[in-house]
């Protein structure tokens, strides 16, 4: 992806029918998309349709799946419906993942594009700053932040979002460094476009393909981070999320496996489906695979 011809080709054909067709030919990616759409639809409409509220006691505690007295997927230590928890908990988990992903992507884009486009001391300064964040283990950093600012859905989102932006920042910078020397960028500059216009209208659309793939990865990481934080008991105990169901029932893993297995499966399914979509996107945007 370093020579000029390919860059222009990708800029011309991305987002077009070609890429979409490539995506559809990637069966795992299609399966991933379908699963992901189902998950999103279930978390949006499921709680209303299912009726049982996730945080309320629905039946006796520790009823197994298939127990006639309890709901389909069993109940936890307070008799809360696990199925309702899985359906409702997705809202928090997906919200945190999406917003944290967007936050880190946004931060990364701003920092990376400024560094890549202007270069020089701005680049040096921003990249050293980025390296500070890169050097810290992200999950630990999130843990420390939560410890300092306290639990709560927005705070958790923030704590996850601000620890992940180094990756997209690096990637954006690399893309900007590469693209800013291209003919079409020089042409844009020659006709008198402002820096802002060149960055947002000329370079950014051409840098999107790898960034989109990175964005899917960030969302997967955010899902897992939130689950990890919740599992360690660092998230709001009053909010239902997949991770918090697992975390609260951690002590009963050996006696009531269903309390952690089903939310765990939901996390795996979500993470896998998003990762598959990202994989499909990468293939679709890769012109070298085209025509095969």
């Amino acid at each position: 992806m370093t020579d000029l011809g390919i860059a222009i080709e990708s800029s011309v054909e991305t987002g077009g029918r070609g890429a979409f067709r490539m995506f559809l030919r990637n069966k795992p990616a299609v399966v991933g998309s379908v699963v992901f759409i189902i998950i999103v639809l279930v978390t949006i409409f499921g709680p209303g349709m299912y009726g049982t509220e996730a945080h309320k006691m629905a039946a006796g505690p520790f009823l197994g799946p298939g127990d006639d007295a309890g709901p389909l997927l069993g109940t936890d230590y307070l008799g809360r419906d696990i199925l309702a928890g899985v359906i409702t908990g997705g809202r928090t988990t997906l919200f945190v993942a999406a917003v944290a992903g967007a936050l880190s992507m946004g931060l990364g884009l701003v920092v990376g594009s400024l560094a890549g486009y202007f270069g020089g001391w701005i680049d040096a300064l921003l990249m050293r700053f980025t390296e500070i964040f890169q050097a810290m283990p992200s999950l630990l950093f999130s843990l420390v932040l939560i410890y300092l600012i306290g639990p709560g859905t927005w705070k958790e989102t923030l704590a996850i979002g601000v620890t992940m932006w180094a990756l997209p920042a690096r990637l954006t910078r690399a893309e900007f460094l590469r693209l800013r020397e291209m003919e079409f960028v020089k042409a844009s500059r020659a006709i008198g476009s402002t820096d802002l216009r060149i960055m947002t209208r000329t370079i950014l659309p051409n840098a999107m393909p790898p960034l989109l793939v990175a964005a899917t990865l960030l969302v997967v990481i955010a899902v897992l981070f939130h689950a990890g934080l919740a599992f360690l008991g660092m998230v709001d105990i009053n909010t239902v999320s997949w991770g918090s169901i697992m975390g609260k029932n951690r002590g009963y893993t050996l006696t009531a496996w269903w309390t952690v297995a089903f939310p765990g499966l939901a996390i795996v399914a979500t993470g896998l489906s998003i990762a598959l979509i990202g994989d499909g996107l990468q293939d679709a945007f890769n012109p070298k695979l085209r025509g095969r």
């Binding site: 990637n26 069966k27 795992p28 230590y77 307070l78 689950a227 002590g251 009963y252 993470g271």
Partner: protein, 575 residues
């Protein structure tokens, strides 16, 4: 195409790695657990008769009769070995004379000796005091100390040290009832202590026993530190010089506490163990895994589920009531210093909403005892005939409306970190139950005991209610009175944190403390329980069970009223 599926597979692998990383704390410990379990099972290939003897030795009354029928001679105690005890309890120091708490009591009872031991019938037995006389009017008690007893630095233990220790306990310990009637202490010679009481004091024999009376070194602690500031004395932490069978050699209060045999202990040939290590574990499940794998020799837990697990495990000796004498309670405490909670109608509304039977029969699977007041249900002073506040949601709503909260109310509930089944789960249940009557309750979790206890130092608005676990500590004078009398509304933990003050209750408690006649004493405590059950500084839920488990080879664990909160000088390991 093949390449693509390889990619999918590798993605799956990466995801499973992530999942494994998230659960690492549990999976790794269970891994190590299973590996060492297999290792220990091979070494446990001893004859089954050994096991039977072990069980009979350490179980209670019924077991002993069986033991006498068996012809095999009891195994002879052996010296040596390290006993590893898992505990979830963290203490601020190792001196139970200045603070209260299981985390402090465990090491304190080994590092410091007391005047007497309490046996399982609550009768005092000689320990540092080899004999004593009680005057006919019950007002003068004369103790004779063992000759030649020394502190861990070699200095002799004298009557001056005993006098000093009682003064320190009086001035610092939250259980003000223990030494209330004490008028003066005479020390006619180095080995004689005479206590003069203002009135008969039935709880004295608890106050002089085991964990309640650590004998502290006057020559070290009386160094100019004001007597009422002994909580902060360095001899309470690392490097503490004590009088008991074990010396403190390593102290990291959130990690581990290492005790080593004191060779010049005043009972010859004791203790048997070379050392005791208290390992502070994050939760009961860690205790459980360590017990199952043989990593820990002994441990305590409060979970009904874990109790069932141990009772089915042939490799462990289950102790159904580990801390019998302690009388641990599980109850909801209200902050009456707070402007919302000071309204009796709000507290009553909460009481009418909580279904105690649901907690006991469903959440605790019927394995805990109902608790209605401040006295443990197994105590002879327990009164079950008090206001119960049976569930009545309409009444609760009406009371809230009357108090001015018809449109709802936002409250917080904290809970003391401990067994989730007892505290967190009940706190979550209370929050859910109160939502039914329009009270929105936020559950506040604390990482450890000190951060939970911080709410008591944060002013009247720092908390509304908390799941708490006061212990009776043998006699109502010690463990109950402190939580209810006006004089004990002081900064601290396990004092009168509810800020409850009722003159009539004070009168009843003080009268009961000095009443030698059992029936009259019971009548006073009955009335106390009737009043407090109505006025609700606490809402009783259940008696907090404390179960224990030992490995089969742990022998002669103390069977007195204080259980493992005593000296351990007779404990030995048969391996």
């Amino acid at each position: 195409m093949l390449k693509r599926w390889i990619k999918v597979l590798s993605l799956l692998a990466v995801l499973s790695l992530f999942a494994a990383a998230c659960g690492s704390s549990d999976s790794s410990s269970s891994d190590s657990g299973s590996s060492s379990a297999s290792a220990s099972s091979s070494s446990d290939d001893e004859p089954a008769a050994e096991e039977d003897a072990g069980e009979a030795q350490s179980s209670d009354d019924e077991g002993e009769e069986e033991a006498t029928e068996e012809t095999a001679p009891p195994p002879q105690p052996k010296h040596g070995g390290t006993m590893v005890i898992a505990t979830t309890q963290v203490g601020a120091n190792v001196n139970h004379g200045v603070n209260s708490g299981i985390g402090i009591a465990q090491p304190s009872s080994k590092i410091f000796a007391s005047l007497t031991h309490l046996d399982k019938n609550w009768e005092p037995q000689p320990y540092l005091a080899e004999s004593w006389e009680v005057s006919d009017d019950n007002l003068t008690i004369t103790f004779h100390l063992v000759e030649g007893a020394t502190f861990h630095d070699g200095a002799p233990i004298t009557s001056a040290d005993v006098k000093f220790s009682i003064e320190v306990i009086q001035a610092n310990h939250p259980f003000t009832g223990m030494w209330g009637p004490l008028e003066s202490i005479d020390t006619p010679d180095d080995l004689t202590v005479v206590l003069h009481l203002a009135n008969p004091h039935p709880a004295l024999w608890i106050a002089t026993s085991d964990v309640m009376m650590p004998i502290m070194p006057k020559h070290i602690m009386d160094d100019g530190t004001p007597i009422n500031e002994m909580k902060g004395h360095p001899n309470n932490v690392a490097g503490a010089i004590g009088s008991g069978p074990f010396r403190l050699t390593e102290y990291e209060n959130t990690q581990k506490i290492v005790l080593e045999r004191y060779d010049d202990f005043f009972i010859p040939d004791r203790p048997y163990l070379d050392s005791i290590i208290y390992v502070i574990v994050p939760d009961e499940d860690a205790t459980m895994l360590g017990l199952e794998s043989g990593e820990y020799d002994s441990g305590g837990y409060a979970s009904v589920i874990n109790a069932e697990k141990v009772s089915k495990n042939p490799d462990l000796v289950a102790i159904p009531d580990l801390l019998g004498g302690v009388g641990s309670l599980n109850h909801l405490q209200f902050n009456m210093a707070n402007s919302i909670m000071s309204d009796l109608r709000v507290r009553q509304a909460i009481a009418y909403t909580i279904d105690r039977d649901y907690v006991i029969n469903t959440l605790h699977q019927g394995q805990t005892m109902e608790l209605l007041g401040g006295i443990h249900p197994s105590s002879p002073f327990y009164n079950a005939d008090v206001e119960r506040y049976d569930v009545d949601l309409d009444k609760a709503r009406a009371l809230l409306a009357e108090a001015g909260y018809a449109d709802g109310l936002d409250l917080r509930i904290n809970y003391i970190p401990g067994p989730n089944e007892q505290q967190r789960n009940v706190a979550e249940y209370i929050a859910l139950a109160l939502a039914e009557v329009g009270v929105n309750v936020e559950v506040i979790q604390a990482a450890d005991l000190p951060s939970w206890a911080g709410i008591f130092f944060g002013g009247p608005d720092a908390w509304h209610m908390t799941m708490n676990a006061y212990f009776n500590w043998g006699d109502p004078v010690i463990g109950v009175q402190r939580a209810y009398v006006c004089a004990n509304i002081v900064p601290g933990v396990f004092v009168n944190n509810s800020a409850y003050c009722n003159e009539k209750v004070d009168e009843l408690l003080y009268a009961a403390a000095a009443e030698p006649d059992f029936a009259k004493r019971k009548a006073l405590y009955d009335e106390f329980q009737e009043i407090t059950a109505i006025e609700l500084p606490f809402y009783g839920i259940n008696a907090l069970p404390i179960f224990g488990a030992n490995q089969l080879y742990v022998r002669d664990q103390p069977d007195g009223a204080w259980g493992p909160l005593s000296g351990f000088e007779n404990v030995w390991l048969d391996k």
